[in-house]
Assembly symmetry: C2
C-alpha cells in the first residue's frame, strides 16, 4: 500500500536543517537532531544563538597588524605594550595563535599568513599576508622571526619560501622544532617524524 504523498518538515525547519548541514562535521542526521533540539528543548534558545552569530560576524574584524580577530583596530596582543620588543612568530591561522598562547611560554607578537602555499588550491604568495609581513619587518624589525608553520608538505614549502625571502632582510630567522611529540614512544613515530627528530638532535651539556 505504498503511495507517493510524503510529508516533510515545514519549509523554515528544512531550511534550518540545510544551513546546519553546511557546518563542518555536521551531517544530515546531526543537523536534524540539532534543529529539532533547538525548537523543542527547554534548554535551547535559538534566538540567542542567532544573536551571537550576528554579533560575531558584525563586531569582529582582522587586526590591521597581525590579522588576529579583534573588535578594535589592533588586537589585544598587538596593543600589549611589552610584546613588541620580543620575537615575531609567523603562523598560518588565528587558531595557531591561541594554540601557542595556551603554552604560556611565548611573549612576543604574531603575524598570521592566512594559510600556506598550496598551488593546487590556487593559493600562491599573493593570497597570503606576505607583503604586509615584509612592510611590518621594514618599519619595526623584531629581534627574531620564528616560523611556526605546519609540518606537512605545504607548510614546509611555505617555510622554505619565507626563509629565502627573509634572508635579504638580515633578521634572525628560526623555525620551531620538528620531532617526537610529548608522550610519544619511538615505536609509534612514523619514519619522517623520526628522521626529523634525529636530524634536529641537540647536544646535551653535562650538569
Amino acid at each position: 500500500m505504498q503511495h507517493s504523498f510524503k510529508t516533510e518538515y515545514p519549509a523554515p525547519l528544512l531550511l534550518l536543517m540545510r544551513e546546519l548541514q553546511c557546518l563542518p562535521g555536521i551531517g544530515p542526521r546531526s543537523a536534524e537532531r540539532i534543529a529539532l533540539w533547538l525548537l523543542q528543548s527547554r534548554h535551547a534558545d535559538p534566538l540567542r544563538l542567532a544573536r551571537s552569530l550576528h554579533d560575531a560576524k558584525q563586531l569582529l574584524k582582522d587586526c590591521s597588524l597581525c590579522g588576529f580577530f579583534t573588535t578594535e583596530d589592533l588586537c589585544q596582543i598587538c596593543s600589549h605594550p611589552g610584546r613588541k620588543e620580543n620575537p615575531l612568530c609567523v603562523v598560518e591561522t588565528p587558531h595557531d595563535v591561541i594554540a601557542i598562547e595556551r603554552t604560556r611560554v611565548f611573549q612576543g607578537s604574531y603575524h598570521i599568513l592566512g594559510g600556506k602555499l598550496s598551488p593546487l588550491d590556487g593559493i600562491g604568495p599573493e593570497q597570503l599576508r606576505i607583503t604586509p609581513l615584509l612592510e611590518r619587518l621594514k618599519s619595526a624589525p623584531p629581534p627574531e622571526l620564528i616560523l611556526a608553520l605546519s609540518a606537512d608538505v605545504e607548510g614546509e614549502a611555505t617555510t622554505h619560501y619565507l626563509t629565502r625571502l627573509l634572508a635579504k632582510t638580515g633578521i634572525l630567522v628560526s623555525r620551531i622544532a620538528h620531532g617526537l611529540p610529548a608522550g610519544g614512544g619511538l615505536e609509534y613515530a612514523d619514519e619522517i617524524t623520526l628522521s626529523k627528530a634525529l636530524a634536529g638532535r641537540q647536544a646535551q651539556g653535562g650538569s
Copy 2:
C-alpha cells in the same frame, strides 16, 4: 619562562563558541572549529544561519490538533482531506511522524504526545498531550488507534497506561509490532527482542 598572561579569542567569538557548545553532539573542540569556520570560510554565511534560526523560531508553531510543526493553525497532515477517515497513530515526537511518513505506508493522521511517561524526569500524564487526545477521540473517533511508542521501559509503560485509559472509549486500539529488525540475523538480536519476536509470531497462510 611561563607567565600568566594568556590571550583568548575576543568576547563575541568566545560567546559564539559557548552557544555552539550547548548544541547536542557538539563538544568544545567542534564548537571552536565551527565558529572559526563560520568567520573565515568563504563558503560560510553566519548571517544566513542566524536568519534561518530566527525564522524557524518565529514562524513555526505546534499544530492545534496533532502537535506537529506547522506555520498555519493546522499542519499539512491534519489539513489533508483524505487522512481524517483513516487510523490515528499516537507517537512521542514530531521526528517519529517523519519516520513513519518516510515509509509511505501509513495514510492516517497522527497525535504527538510530546514524550513518554518518565516519573524520574518528572514527566507524568499531565506533562503529555493526553487530555487533547481524549478530546479529539470524543469529537472525531477514528476507525482505529495505533500506539507507536518506543520499545523501551518508558515507552512500554506509556503504551500500557494509554491502553487501559482508552479501553473505555470503545475504539479499536492496536500497537506496532516489536521483533527482529530488517536485515538482522537471530544471532545478533538481544534476548528481549527475540522473546518479543517469538511472542508476536503470526500464522503464515499457504499460498
